[in-house]
Amino acid sequence: MQKTANVVIIGGGISGTALAYELAVRGMKDIVVIEKQYLASGATGRCGAGVRQQWGTETNAILARDSVKRFEGMNEELDYDKDIEFKQGGYLMVAYTPGEWEQYKKNVAVQHSLGIPTKMITPQEAQEIVPHLNIDGLIGATFCQTDGHANPFHVVDAYYKAASRLGVKFETYTTVTGITRENGKVTGVQTNRGDIDTPLVVNACGFAAGTICKMVDFDLPLYPQRHQALVTEPVEACQGPMVISLSHRLYCQQSPHGSFIMGVGDPNEPKDFNINSSWEFLEDVARQAITVLPLLKNLRVVRQWSGLYDMSPDANPIFDEIPGAQGMWVAAGFSGHGFMVGPMTAVLLAQKILGQQCFMPIEKFGLDRFRTGELLLEPAVV
Protein backbone atom coordinates (compact mmCIF):
# COMPACT_ATOMS: atom_id res chain seq x y z
CA MET A 1 0.00 0.00 0.00
CA GLN A 2 1.32 3.47 -0.79
CA LYS A 3 2.63 5.66 2.02
CA THR A 4 1.38 9.06 0.89
CA ALA A 5 -1.63 10.44 -0.95
CA ASN A 6 -3.18 13.77 -1.89
CA VAL A 7 -6.52 12.50 -0.67
CA VAL A 8 -7.75 9.37 1.08
CA ILE A 9 -11.41 8.54 0.55
CA ILE A 10 -12.87 6.20 3.15
CA GLY A 11 -15.71 4.10 1.78
CA GLY A 12 -16.08 2.15 -1.46
CA GLY A 13 -19.75 2.71 -2.20
CA ILE A 14 -21.29 5.05 -4.75
CA SER A 15 -20.12 8.14 -2.82
CA GLY A 16 -16.49 7.13 -2.52
CA THR A 17 -15.99 5.59 -5.96
CA ALA A 18 -17.81 8.36 -7.83
CA LEU A 19 -15.90 11.03 -5.89
CA ALA A 20 -12.59 9.32 -6.67
CA TYR A 21 -13.48 9.41 -10.37
CA GLU A 22 -14.69 13.03 -10.31
CA LEU A 23 -11.48 14.17 -8.57
CA ALA A 24 -9.24 12.15 -10.90
CA VAL A 25 -11.00 13.30 -14.06
CA ARG A 26 -10.43 16.89 -12.90
CA GLY A 27 -6.69 16.21 -12.76
CA MET A 28 -6.05 15.28 -9.12
CA LYS A 29 -3.30 12.68 -8.61
CA ASP A 30 -2.48 10.20 -5.84
CA ILE A 31 -6.03 9.36 -4.80
CA VAL A 32 -6.55 6.34 -2.54
CA VAL A 33 -9.92 4.76 -1.73
CA ILE A 34 -10.06 2.56 1.38
CA GLU A 35 -12.87 0.05 1.78
CA LYS A 36 -13.35 -2.25 4.76
CA GLN A 37 -14.79 -5.10 2.67
CA TYR A 38 -15.33 -5.10 -1.10
CA LEU A 39 -16.72 -2.30 -3.28
CA ALA A 40 -20.49 -1.74 -2.88
CA SER A 41 -20.56 -4.06 0.14
CA GLY A 42 -22.39 -1.49 2.28
CA ALA A 43 -25.55 0.51 1.70
CA THR A 44 -25.01 1.02 -2.04
CA GLY A 45 -25.03 -2.69 -2.86
CA ARG A 46 -28.01 -3.27 -0.58
CA CYS A 47 -30.25 -0.49 -1.87
CA GLY A 48 -33.45 -0.83 -3.86
CA ALA A 49 -31.72 0.26 -7.09
CA GLY A 50 -34.27 2.99 -7.77
CA VAL A 51 -33.53 6.34 -9.38
CA ARG A 52 -36.20 8.98 -8.94
CA GLN A 53 -36.52 12.71 -9.40
CA GLN A 54 -39.85 12.97 -7.61
CA TRP A 55 -38.67 14.67 -4.46
CA GLY A 56 -40.20 17.31 -2.23
CA THR A 57 -37.10 19.35 -1.52
CA GLU A 58 -35.43 21.38 -4.24
CA THR A 59 -31.96 20.10 -3.36
CA ASN A 60 -32.90 16.44 -3.79
CA ALA A 61 -34.85 17.15 -6.96
CA ILE A 62 -31.91 18.98 -8.57
CA LEU A 63 -29.36 16.34 -7.54
CA ALA A 64 -31.61 13.54 -8.81
CA ARG A 65 -32.55 15.33 -12.03
CA ASP A 66 -28.93 15.94 -12.97
CA SER A 67 -27.91 12.46 -11.84
CA VAL A 68 -30.49 10.98 -14.22
CA LYS A 69 -28.72 12.77 -17.06
CA ARG A 70 -25.44 11.22 -15.91
CA PHE A 71 -26.97 7.73 -15.64
CA GLU A 72 -28.33 8.13 -19.20
CA GLY A 73 -24.82 8.52 -20.60
CA MET A 74 -22.85 6.61 -17.98
CA ASN A 75 -21.88 3.51 -20.00
CA GLU A 76 -20.25 5.79 -22.57
CA GLU A 77 -18.86 8.41 -20.19
CA LEU A 78 -17.14 5.81 -18.04
CA ASP A 79 -16.39 3.56 -21.04
CA TYR A 80 -17.89 0.64 -19.14
CA ASP A 81 -17.35 -2.86 -20.52
CA LYS A 82 -20.66 -4.07 -19.05
CA ASP A 83 -24.00 -2.26 -18.69
CA ILE A 84 -25.21 -0.20 -15.73
CA GLU A 85 -28.74 -1.40 -16.65
CA PHE A 86 -30.35 2.02 -16.55
CA LYS A 87 -34.01 1.44 -17.29
CA GLN A 88 -36.28 4.47 -17.46
CA GLY A 89 -39.60 2.80 -16.76
CA GLY A 90 -40.60 5.67 -14.51
CA TYR A 91 -41.73 5.94 -10.90
CA LEU A 92 -45.42 5.73 -10.09
CA MET A 93 -46.10 7.30 -6.70
CA VAL A 94 -49.59 6.33 -5.62
CA ALA A 95 -51.73 8.22 -3.09
CA TYR A 96 -54.37 6.35 -1.11
CA THR A 97 -54.89 9.08 1.50
CA PRO A 98 -55.82 12.77 1.10
CA GLY A 99 -52.70 13.70 3.09
CA GLU A 100 -50.43 11.93 0.62
CA TRP A 101 -52.20 13.52 -2.34
CA GLU A 102 -51.84 17.02 -0.89
CA GLN A 103 -48.14 16.41 -0.27
CA TYR A 104 -47.64 15.06 -3.80
CA LYS A 105 -49.23 18.20 -5.23
CA LYS A 106 -46.67 20.31 -3.38
CA ASN A 107 -43.83 18.01 -4.44
CA VAL A 108 -44.88 18.15 -8.09
CA ALA A 109 -44.89 21.96 -7.96
CA VAL A 110 -41.24 21.82 -6.82
CA GLN A 111 -40.43 19.29 -9.55
CA HIS A 112 -42.13 21.32 -12.30
CA SER A 113 -40.24 24.46 -11.25
CA LEU A 114 -37.04 22.51 -11.97
CA GLY A 115 -38.18 21.08 -15.31
CA ILE A 116 -38.84 17.54 -14.05
CA PRO A 117 -41.65 16.14 -16.26
CA THR A 118 -43.85 14.57 -13.55
CA LYS A 119 -47.52 14.11 -14.41
CA MET A 120 -50.43 14.03 -11.98
CA ILE A 121 -52.72 11.25 -13.13
CA THR A 122 -56.04 9.61 -12.27
CA PRO A 123 -56.37 6.08 -10.83
CA GLN A 124 -57.49 4.84 -14.27
CA GLU A 125 -54.44 6.36 -15.95
CA ALA A 126 -52.25 4.79 -13.26
CA GLN A 127 -53.78 1.41 -14.01
CA GLU A 128 -53.04 1.84 -17.69
CA ILE A 129 -49.36 2.19 -16.75
CA VAL A 130 -49.41 -0.68 -14.21
CA PRO A 131 -52.34 -2.99 -15.13
CA HIS A 132 -52.04 -5.03 -11.91
CA LEU A 133 -52.25 -1.94 -9.63
CA ASN A 134 -55.01 -2.03 -7.02
CA ILE A 135 -56.98 1.19 -7.54
CA ASP A 136 -59.57 0.56 -4.80
CA GLY A 137 -59.44 3.71 -2.70
CA LEU A 138 -56.72 5.24 -4.87
CA ILE A 139 -57.05 9.02 -5.06
CA GLY A 140 -54.43 9.68 -7.71
CA ALA A 141 -50.82 9.17 -8.61
CA THR A 142 -47.81 11.02 -9.89
CA PHE A 143 -45.72 9.57 -12.68
CA CYS A 144 -42.35 10.56 -14.09
CA GLN A 145 -41.25 8.48 -17.07
CA THR A 146 -37.57 9.41 -16.87
CA ASP A 147 -37.19 7.97 -13.35
CA GLY A 148 -36.15 4.35 -13.14
CA HIS A 149 -33.60 1.73 -12.16
CA ALA A 150 -29.82 1.33 -12.30
CA ASN A 151 -27.72 -1.61 -11.17
CA PRO A 152 -25.79 -0.41 -8.07
CA PHE A 153 -23.07 -3.07 -8.38
CA HIS A 154 -22.40 -2.18 -11.99
CA VAL A 155 -22.52 1.58 -11.40
CA VAL A 156 -19.87 1.23 -8.68
CA ASP A 157 -17.88 -1.19 -10.87
CA ALA A 158 -18.03 1.34 -13.73
CA TYR A 159 -16.75 4.19 -11.51
CA TYR A 160 -14.09 1.88 -10.04
CA LYS A 161 -12.77 0.86 -13.45
CA ALA A 162 -12.83 4.41 -14.85
CA ALA A 163 -11.10 5.78 -11.75
CA SER A 164 -8.52 2.98 -11.82
CA ARG A 165 -7.64 3.85 -15.41
CA LEU A 166 -7.00 7.42 -14.19
CA GLY A 167 -4.58 6.10 -11.57
CA VAL A 168 -6.80 5.93 -8.46
CA LYS A 169 -5.70 3.19 -6.04
CA PHE A 170 -8.39 1.08 -4.37
CA GLU A 171 -7.47 -0.74 -1.14
CA THR A 172 -10.24 -3.20 -0.30
CA TYR A 173 -10.46 -5.37 2.84
CA THR A 174 -8.68 -2.56 4.66
CA THR A 175 -9.93 -1.11 7.93
CA VAL A 176 -9.29 2.45 9.06
CA THR A 177 -8.10 2.40 12.67
CA GLY A 178 -7.27 6.07 13.24
CA ILE A 179 -6.94 9.57 11.81
CA THR A 180 -3.84 11.57 12.77
CA ARG A 181 -3.90 15.36 13.27
CA GLU A 182 -1.45 18.12 14.03
CA ASN A 183 -2.61 21.55 15.20
CA GLY A 184 -6.17 20.77 14.18
CA LYS A 185 -5.19 19.67 10.68
CA VAL A 186 -5.47 16.15 9.30
CA THR A 187 -2.09 14.57 8.57
CA GLY A 188 -2.84 10.94 7.83
CA VAL A 189 -4.96 7.82 7.97
CA GLN A 190 -3.99 4.71 9.92
CA THR A 191 -5.20 1.31 8.74
CA ASN A 192 -4.71 -2.34 9.66
CA ARG A 193 -2.46 -2.61 6.58
CA GLY A 194 -0.29 0.45 7.12
CA ASP A 195 -0.48 4.22 7.42
CA ILE A 196 -0.91 6.83 4.68
CA ASP A 197 0.20 10.45 5.05
CA THR A 198 -2.40 12.78 3.54
CA PRO A 199 -3.60 16.34 4.10
CA LEU A 200 -7.12 15.46 2.91
CA VAL A 201 -9.58 12.78 4.03
CA VAL A 202 -13.14 12.26 2.81
CA ASN A 203 -15.35 10.23 5.11
CA ALA A 204 -17.81 8.62 2.70
CA CYS A 205 -18.66 5.48 4.58
CA GLY A 206 -22.39 5.82 5.18
CA PHE A 207 -23.56 4.32 8.45
CA ALA A 208 -19.92 3.99 9.60
CA ALA A 209 -19.26 7.72 9.11
CA GLY A 210 -20.01 8.38 12.77
CA THR A 211 -17.37 5.85 13.85
CA ILE A 212 -14.77 7.57 11.66
CA CYS A 213 -15.73 11.03 12.97
CA LYS A 214 -15.25 9.80 16.54
CA MET A 215 -11.58 9.25 15.60
CA VAL A 216 -11.26 13.04 15.42
CA ASP A 217 -13.44 13.56 18.50
CA PHE A 218 -16.46 14.76 16.55
CA ASP A 219 -19.98 13.55 17.17
CA LEU A 220 -21.72 13.33 13.80
CA PRO A 221 -25.53 13.55 14.15
CA LEU A 222 -26.22 10.31 12.26
CA TYR A 223 -27.86 7.09 13.32
CA PRO A 224 -28.07 3.70 11.56
CA GLN A 225 -31.46 2.26 10.67
CA ARG A 226 -31.96 -1.19 9.20
CA HIS A 227 -34.04 -1.50 6.05
CA GLN A 228 -34.85 -4.85 4.53
CA ALA A 229 -35.52 -5.85 0.94
CA LEU A 230 -36.20 -8.97 -1.08
CA VAL A 231 -35.92 -10.17 -4.64
CA THR A 232 -38.08 -12.66 -6.50
CA GLU A 233 -37.51 -15.11 -9.29
CA PRO A 234 -37.33 -13.42 -12.71
CA VAL A 235 -40.47 -13.28 -14.84
CA GLU A 236 -41.35 -11.68 -18.17
CA ALA A 237 -41.42 -7.88 -18.20
CA CYS A 238 -44.82 -6.79 -16.86
CA GLN A 239 -44.18 -3.71 -14.68
CA GLY A 240 -42.55 -0.65 -16.19
CA PRO A 241 -42.23 1.71 -13.23
CA MET A 242 -41.16 1.50 -9.64
CA VAL A 243 -44.37 1.73 -7.60
CA ILE A 244 -44.17 3.65 -4.34
CA SER A 245 -46.95 3.82 -1.79
CA LEU A 246 -45.94 5.86 1.22
CA SER A 247 -49.07 4.81 3.13
CA HIS A 248 -48.09 1.15 2.65
CA ARG A 249 -44.41 2.07 3.32
CA LEU A 250 -43.74 0.10 0.11
CA TYR A 251 -41.50 0.36 -2.91
CA CYS A 252 -41.57 -2.31 -5.61
CA GLN A 253 -40.02 -2.52 -9.05
CA GLN A 254 -39.17 -5.06 -11.72
CA SER A 255 -35.50 -4.99 -12.64
CA PRO A 256 -34.36 -5.32 -16.28
CA HIS A 257 -33.31 -8.87 -15.34
CA GLY A 258 -36.99 -9.68 -14.69
CA SER A 259 -36.88 -10.12 -10.93
CA PHE A 260 -38.96 -7.92 -8.62
CA ILE A 261 -37.13 -5.98 -5.92
CA MET A 262 -39.21 -4.64 -3.05
CA GLY A 263 -39.02 -3.38 0.47
CA VAL A 264 -41.06 -1.78 3.25
CA GLY A 265 -39.91 0.67 5.86
CA ASP A 266 -40.59 -0.31 9.46
CA PRO A 267 -41.59 2.69 11.62
CA ASN A 268 -40.60 0.75 14.75
CA GLU A 269 -37.10 -0.11 13.56
CA PRO A 270 -34.67 0.70 16.41
CA LYS A 271 -31.57 2.85 15.93
CA ASP A 272 -29.08 0.03 15.68
CA PHE A 273 -26.35 -1.51 13.51
CA ASN A 274 -28.26 -4.82 13.24
CA ILE A 275 -28.35 -6.07 9.64
CA ASN A 276 -29.82 -9.52 10.15
CA SER A 277 -32.85 -10.53 8.08
CA SER A 278 -36.13 -11.02 9.92
CA TRP A 279 -39.19 -13.18 9.22
CA GLU A 280 -41.42 -10.29 10.32
CA PHE A 281 -40.23 -8.36 7.28
CA LEU A 282 -41.19 -11.18 4.90
CA GLU A 283 -44.76 -11.25 6.19
CA ASP A 284 -45.04 -7.46 6.28
CA VAL A 285 -43.70 -6.79 2.79
CA ALA A 286 -45.71 -9.68 1.32
CA ARG A 287 -48.97 -8.25 2.75
CA GLN A 288 -48.24 -4.70 1.65
CA ALA A 289 -47.09 -5.70 -1.84
CA ILE A 290 -50.09 -7.93 -2.43
CA THR A 291 -52.45 -5.20 -1.25
CA VAL A 292 -51.03 -2.68 -3.73
CA LEU A 293 -50.07 -5.12 -6.51
CA PRO A 294 -52.23 -8.24 -5.99
CA LEU A 295 -50.84 -10.16 -8.98
CA LEU A 296 -47.47 -10.48 -7.24
CA LYS A 297 -48.80 -13.06 -4.78
CA ASN A 298 -47.71 -15.81 -7.18
CA LEU A 299 -44.10 -14.64 -7.38
CA ARG A 300 -41.52 -16.67 -5.50
CA VAL A 301 -39.08 -14.93 -3.18
CA VAL A 302 -35.52 -16.16 -3.72
CA ARG A 303 -33.54 -13.95 -1.36
CA GLN A 304 -33.95 -11.32 1.32
CA TRP A 305 -31.27 -9.07 2.75
CA SER A 306 -30.90 -5.90 4.74
CA GLY A 307 -28.78 -2.80 4.81
CA LEU A 308 -28.43 0.33 6.87
CA TYR A 309 -29.70 3.81 6.09
CA ASP A 310 -27.33 6.47 7.44
CA MET A 311 -30.07 8.67 8.84
CA SER A 312 -29.47 12.35 9.45
CA PRO A 313 -31.88 14.51 11.50
CA ASP A 314 -33.57 15.84 8.33
CA ALA A 315 -33.12 12.74 6.13
CA ASN A 316 -30.65 14.60 3.90
CA PRO A 317 -26.90 14.26 3.46
CA ILE A 318 -24.16 16.22 5.21
CA PHE A 319 -21.28 17.65 3.17
CA ASP A 320 -18.94 19.63 5.36
CA GLU A 321 -15.46 19.93 6.78
CA ILE A 322 -15.30 18.53 10.31
CA PRO A 323 -14.79 21.17 13.02
CA GLY A 324 -11.42 20.62 14.68
CA ALA A 325 -10.10 18.47 11.84
CA GLN A 326 -9.20 20.74 8.95
CA GLY A 327 -8.87 18.71 5.76
CA MET A 328 -11.40 16.11 6.81
CA TRP A 329 -14.66 16.16 4.89
CA VAL A 330 -17.78 14.16 5.48
CA ALA A 331 -20.14 13.00 2.75
CA ALA A 332 -22.71 10.88 4.55
CA GLY A 333 -26.22 10.90 5.96
CA PHE A 334 -27.89 10.08 2.66
CA SER A 335 -30.78 8.53 4.59
CA GLY A 336 -31.72 5.94 2.00
CA HIS A 337 -31.38 7.94 -1.20
CA GLY A 338 -27.62 8.19 -1.72
CA PHE A 339 -27.35 5.89 -4.73
CA MET A 340 -29.66 7.80 -7.05
CA VAL A 341 -28.03 11.17 -6.35
CA GLY A 342 -24.51 9.76 -6.09
CA PRO A 343 -23.27 10.89 -9.52
CA MET A 344 -24.01 14.55 -8.76
CA THR A 345 -23.15 14.66 -5.07
CA ALA A 346 -19.71 13.42 -6.15
CA VAL A 347 -19.44 16.27 -8.65
CA LEU A 348 -20.50 18.81 -6.02
CA LEU A 349 -17.96 17.59 -3.49
CA ALA A 350 -15.16 17.33 -6.07
CA GLN A 351 -15.81 20.93 -7.12
CA LYS A 352 -15.73 22.08 -3.49
CA ILE A 353 -12.56 20.17 -2.62
CA LEU A 354 -10.74 21.47 -5.70
CA GLY A 355 -11.86 25.05 -5.05
CA GLN A 356 -13.91 25.15 -8.25
CA GLN A 357 -17.27 26.82 -8.76
CA CYS A 358 -19.94 24.50 -7.29
CA PHE A 359 -22.97 23.86 -9.53
CA MET A 360 -25.24 24.36 -6.51
CA PRO A 361 -24.59 25.88 -3.07
CA ILE A 362 -22.95 23.17 -0.97
CA GLU A 363 -23.45 25.22 2.21
CA LYS A 364 -27.07 24.08 2.39
CA PHE A 365 -25.77 20.60 3.23
CA GLY A 366 -23.50 21.87 6.01
CA LEU A 367 -23.50 20.89 9.68
CA ASP A 368 -24.61 24.40 10.59
CA ARG A 369 -28.18 23.61 9.65
CA PHE A 370 -28.64 21.45 12.73
CA ARG A 371 -27.63 24.44 14.90
CA THR A 372 -29.63 27.10 13.06
CA GLY A 373 -32.65 24.90 12.41
CA GLU A 374 -32.60 25.61 8.66
CA LEU A 375 -33.22 21.97 7.89
CA LEU A 376 -33.74 20.35 4.49
CA LEU A 377 -36.76 18.31 5.62
CA GLU A 378 -37.64 15.80 2.93
CA PRO A 379 -41.29 14.75 2.92
CA ALA A 380 -40.94 11.89 0.41
CA VAL A 381 -38.74 9.24 2.03
CA VAL A 382 -39.74 5.55 2.10
Binding site: Y38, R287, V301, Q304, W305
Partner: protein, 95 residues
Protein backbone atom coordinates in the same frame (compact mmCIF):
# COMPACT_ATOMS: atom_id res chain seq x y z
CA UNK B 1 -10.94 -28.62 -19.45
CA UNK B 2 -13.22 -26.86 -21.94
CA UNK B 3 -13.55 -23.74 -19.80
CA UNK B 4 -15.76 -21.87 -22.26
CA UNK B 5 -18.30 -24.71 -22.37
CA UNK B 6 -18.22 -25.64 -18.69
CA UNK B 7 -21.11 -24.03 -16.83
CA UNK B 8 -20.37 -23.09 -13.22
CA UNK B 9 -23.59 -21.19 -12.39
CA UNK B 10 -26.51 -22.98 -14.01
CA UNK B 11 -29.15 -20.41 -13.04
CA UNK B 12 -27.35 -17.55 -14.76
CA UNK B 13 -25.34 -19.44 -17.39
CA UNK B 14 -21.90 -18.40 -16.17
CA UNK B 15 -18.97 -20.39 -17.53
CA UNK B 16 -15.74 -21.46 -15.87
CA UNK B 17 -13.90 -19.24 -18.32
CA UNK B 18 -15.84 -16.17 -17.15
CA UNK B 19 -15.14 -17.01 -13.49
CA UNK B 20 -11.43 -17.54 -14.11
CA UNK B 21 -11.25 -14.32 -16.09
CA UNK B 22 -12.86 -12.32 -13.24
CA UNK B 23 -10.41 -13.82 -10.75
CA UNK B 24 -7.54 -12.76 -13.04
CA UNK B 25 -9.02 -9.25 -13.20
CA UNK B 26 -8.75 -9.05 -9.42
CA UNK B 27 -12.23 -9.86 -8.10
CA UNK B 28 -11.15 -11.53 -4.89
CA UNK B 29 -14.20 -13.17 -3.32
CA UNK B 30 -17.37 -15.08 -4.17
CA UNK B 31 -19.33 -11.98 -3.11
CA UNK B 32 -17.54 -9.75 -5.62
CA UNK B 33 -17.94 -12.25 -8.47
CA UNK B 34 -21.62 -12.67 -7.62
CA UNK B 35 -22.27 -8.94 -7.81
CA UNK B 36 -20.55 -8.47 -11.14
CA UNK B 37 -21.96 -11.42 -13.13
CA UNK B 38 -24.88 -12.66 -10.98
CA UNK B 39 -23.30 -16.07 -10.30
CA UNK B 40 -25.28 -17.34 -7.30
CA UNK B 41 -28.14 -14.88 -7.62
CA UNK B 42 -30.54 -17.21 -9.42
CA UNK B 43 -33.32 -19.42 -8.08
CA UNK B 44 -30.90 -21.90 -6.44
CA UNK B 45 -28.99 -19.08 -4.69
CA UNK B 46 -25.57 -20.56 -5.32
CA UNK B 47 -26.13 -24.13 -4.20
CA UNK B 48 -24.07 -25.37 -7.13
CA UNK B 49 -21.74 -22.55 -8.03
CA UNK B 50 -20.74 -21.30 -4.60
CA UNK B 51 -18.39 -24.19 -3.87
CA UNK B 52 -17.14 -24.37 -7.46
CA UNK B 53 -16.18 -20.69 -7.36
CA UNK B 54 -14.63 -21.22 -3.92
CA UNK B 55 -12.43 -23.95 -5.41
CA UNK B 56 -11.32 -21.66 -8.24
CA UNK B 57 -10.45 -18.88 -5.78
CA UNK B 58 -8.59 -21.37 -3.56
CA UNK B 59 -6.55 -22.53 -6.56
CA UNK B 60 -5.82 -19.00 -7.75
CA UNK B 61 -4.70 -17.75 -4.33
CA UNK B 62 -3.06 -21.00 -3.19
CA UNK B 63 -5.16 -21.30 -0.04
CA UNK B 64 -7.39 -24.08 1.30
CA UNK B 65 -11.09 -23.82 0.35
CA UNK B 66 -11.89 -23.37 4.05
CA UNK B 67 -10.12 -20.00 3.95
CA UNK B 68 -12.22 -18.63 1.07
CA UNK B 69 -14.70 -16.05 2.39
CA UNK B 70 -18.25 -17.35 2.07
CA UNK B 71 -21.14 -15.05 1.17
CA UNK B 72 -23.85 -14.60 3.79
CA UNK B 73 -26.42 -17.38 3.66
CA UNK B 74 -29.74 -15.56 3.39
CA UNK B 75 -33.39 -16.52 3.67
CA UNK B 76 -35.39 -17.89 2.02
CA UNK B 77 -34.00 -21.43 2.09
CA UNK B 78 -36.06 -22.29 -0.99
CA UNK B 79 -38.16 -20.08 -3.27
CA UNK B 80 -41.51 -19.37 -1.58
CA UNK B 81 -44.47 -17.43 -3.00
CA UNK B 82 -45.25 -14.00 -1.59
CA UNK B 83 -48.85 -15.17 -1.12
CA UNK B 84 -47.66 -17.87 1.27
CA UNK B 85 -45.94 -15.29 3.47
CA UNK B 86 -48.91 -12.96 3.32
CA UNK B 87 -51.71 -15.33 4.16
CA UNK B 88 -50.43 -18.86 4.59
CA UNK B 89 -50.29 -21.86 2.31
CA UNK B 90 -54.01 -21.93 1.47
CA UNK B 91 -53.96 -18.41 0.02
CA UNK B 92 -51.26 -19.11 -2.53
CA UNK B 93 -51.64 -21.20 -5.63
CA UNK B 94 -48.57 -23.25 -4.91
CA UNK B 95 -49.05 -26.12 -7.32
Amino acid sequence: MQTKETIVCRCEDITLDEIQSLIKQGYRTIDEIKRVVRAGMGPCQGRTCRMLIAQELAKAYGVPVSEVLMPTFRPTVKPVKLGTFAGGESDAENC
